[in-house]
Symmetry: D2
Amino acid sequence: MNIQASGDFDISMLKTRLDEVWKELFRTSTFLTAVGAGETTRSLYASYLIETYHYTRHNARNQALVGVALPGDDPQYQRFCFQHAAEEAGHEQMALHDIKSLGIADLEAKLPEPLPETSVLTAYLYWISYQGNPVQRLGYSFWAESCYEYILPLMGQVIQALGLTSAQTTFFVAHADIDVAHAEMVNAMLARKCRTAADWAAASEVMETSLRLTGRMMDAVHEEHRRLMSGQSERCAFLRDL
Amino acid sequence: MNIQASGDFDISMLKTRLDEVWKELFRTSTFLTAVGAGETTRSLYASYLIETYHYTRHNARNQALVGVALPGDDPQYQRFCFQHAAEEAGHEQMALHDIKSLGIADLEAKLPEPLPETSVLTAYLYWISYQGNPVQRLGYSFWAESCYEYILPLMGQVIQALGLTSAQTTFFVAHADIDVAHAEMVNAMLARKCRTAADWAAASEVMETSLRLTGRMMDAVHEEHRRLMSGQSERCAFLRDL
Amino acid sequence: MNIQASGDFDISMLKTRLDEVWKELFRTSTFLTAVGAGETTRSLYASYLIETYHYTRHNARNQALVGVALPGDDPQYQRFCFQHAAEEAGHEQMALHDIKSLGIADLEAKLPEPLPETSVLTAYLYWISYQGNPVQRLGYSFWAESCYEYILPLMGQVIQALGLTSAQTTFFVAHADIDVAHAEMVNAMLARKCRTAADWAAASEVMETSLRLTGRMMDAVHEEHRRLMSGQSERCAFLRDL
Amino acid sequence: MNIQASGDFDISMLKTRLDEVWKELFRTSTFLTAVGAGETTRSLYASYLIETYHYTRHNARNQALVGVALPGDDPQYQRFCFQHAAEEAGHEQMALHDIKSLGIADLEAKLPEPLPETSVLTAYLYWISYQGNPVQRLGYSFWAESCYEYILPLMGQVIQALGLTSAQTTFFVAHADIDVAHAEMVNAMLARKCRTAADWAAASEVMETSLRLTGRMMDAVHEEHRRLMSGQSERCAFLRDL
């Protein structure tokens, strides 16, 4: 973290840092560069959605946990946490739906445990939700709700290459629409709740760290898929048929 | 608990049991009988609102905790928990407002810690929210959201006796309106989520136990107020001036 | 709570208050007065041990939770919490053993859920362990580790009346021996950690409240046993054969 | 994770995997290779100890949490968790002591927040302690208690290069002695509690993941130290004087 203690923080500085980290990820992530270079298969798409299912099913929970753990009374922020959690509830079902729509029967019985990198991301999101600066999870929402700006071009490529219908991309496409309103609420809440340099620093650290952990999760998906295809891993053997 | 293991449970049986417990409380509670007999003072009303503030500020939190702790995926119930929590968030501020409106300046600095009986109620609501049968907290909502039917007559008496304006009774009166829709949602959710006799038994046990603990809290308010007025307790000395 | 804010607290004042509450319980508890008057049956003894099993299996857990939740570094107190928890671990097995030794086969399959009053006690012990004043749980240990002074005479009566062997009273008799050293450590820790009137008040409130909730649990055992014997409850039907 | 579902797991397989991961870390870690190549300064040593302090102060807590969260009764394992936690309590004070002994006055006031990578490690250790397979944290203990075998040669180099006295290396040297007995207990407990391939897989995944996260923490220490020395970071400006 290279955040200086200063009162001059605002959302545009978060945004500037976010651009930098995304740029770095697009340059260094094996997953993003491979997909960008056209390595798009249904099994890789499904592999990614499986991990997406795994961390997404915790997102409403850890978002709500912020409101549960809030020290002192702050009805406005607490309400935001619970409302936002309510809106996120069930989004993991979209990821499941999209995987099934690729033609995988009886998916629930086949789902593997999350990859370690997915567990690390999940662990971190709980940790920053139940302790530390109460506003810091907004740093995660800040990038998560607006990530479509960065990844939609790539998703467009994937959709075209794989010939996916809109019924097979509900998580990303529908989610992108849903999250526009969320992103605005998150920005407004950040502006309102971050009152000190320490608040902005905490939100920024969580933004950057959770995005990097997501990057590591994506790269782990890519590596695990490589192992699947080369016969070194049977974890998702059922994806070889796609 | 005198719940038999049977599949014949429905909401009307919860309601029947609830009527019985309320009847018993109206007969045995020192607080309810004293208020019913006309023992209505501003200081007793304020004493009650102080404890109401203390447990109410945890209600949105423990309601949300049910959705956080939910084992497995159940988007519908999870969303209900978070939405309901969002609607309950900040209700404790109404209790604070009503106390202040009685003419108490600088209330926050004067607020005592909760009475032990209030802590016991709060402790129990968290406990039944983070472990055990996930539907059981609906038993608390079942009576809490519909309690106005039972206590509004008494509240009417109190309001008249003390000459309270609607701005001094926001918690109870406004709350009663808000909670009509809640009560319907709670009933619908109970009917949908209670599938086994064990589910109904868990909801019924939580209903009865949390109502009885609320009764004990009310009686503790009454006893503490008696001690205040007889000079045995200085905990809420600032209420003597009302 | 009638604790005044004063710096003059010490253990002897806790002890004085404890004597008063025990005296009140011996006078008002339906369980203690019935047992004192000779109402001693194996089924009542077993009923009590079942609830003892239920709350005791949480005692090591909530004791350890104090050390987990400790804000800031306090190695000495943290070590005490974990050591004490280690020593309490498994004590619930003694209660199970004593019930089985009365001649109940396949007990695990028959064990009912805890009575509501047992759940309330358990809920409270977790609550005061994970939030609030970190020293407050010492107030529970203070009376729990030294309760044998108060209840051993009664236990002696029960043992004689029921002709129980030492292998059928391991929880109480063995426990009494084990807890002498604990009680000394608890007293030393209370003296060391309670530095303000608020600390003593918190420990005293938890002492009194947890003892009263234990009293309510005992009375619930007595009432439930009455219902068992009069055929109104089938919850512990297997105890009728004893 | 390349763990196959098989019943043939035993400790020697954990050990084999551990050797591989350590070898990889000694090859790829910027911190380990730099230190191995003689980049040893007091400020780097202090930087490492600061992060060590930060995660170590959570170790007793998350170890105890395993025993708190244990589903069902398992007195033996529960006792182990609490005893082990008791023995780990306060170890962070050794790290603090060693930093101070380098000549840093008023350290507590200067201590920066943990690096993000340290927070990620801490987050993960809590996560695997309060949910998932109850035996999995043994995988962390397995490598943590026996890490001295791998890093003592390096530590020896550092101690000699910096001319550190035994009073300046209490965390590592004393810790190494203390942990021999721990390591034996951990091995015995692993052998006893891992009964299925899933148990061994869970322990192995936690072993590997927590070691890799520790590696990332070490590399973050190295990078942050480089930034300190090049004037890009003021986070630990007080270390420049060493």
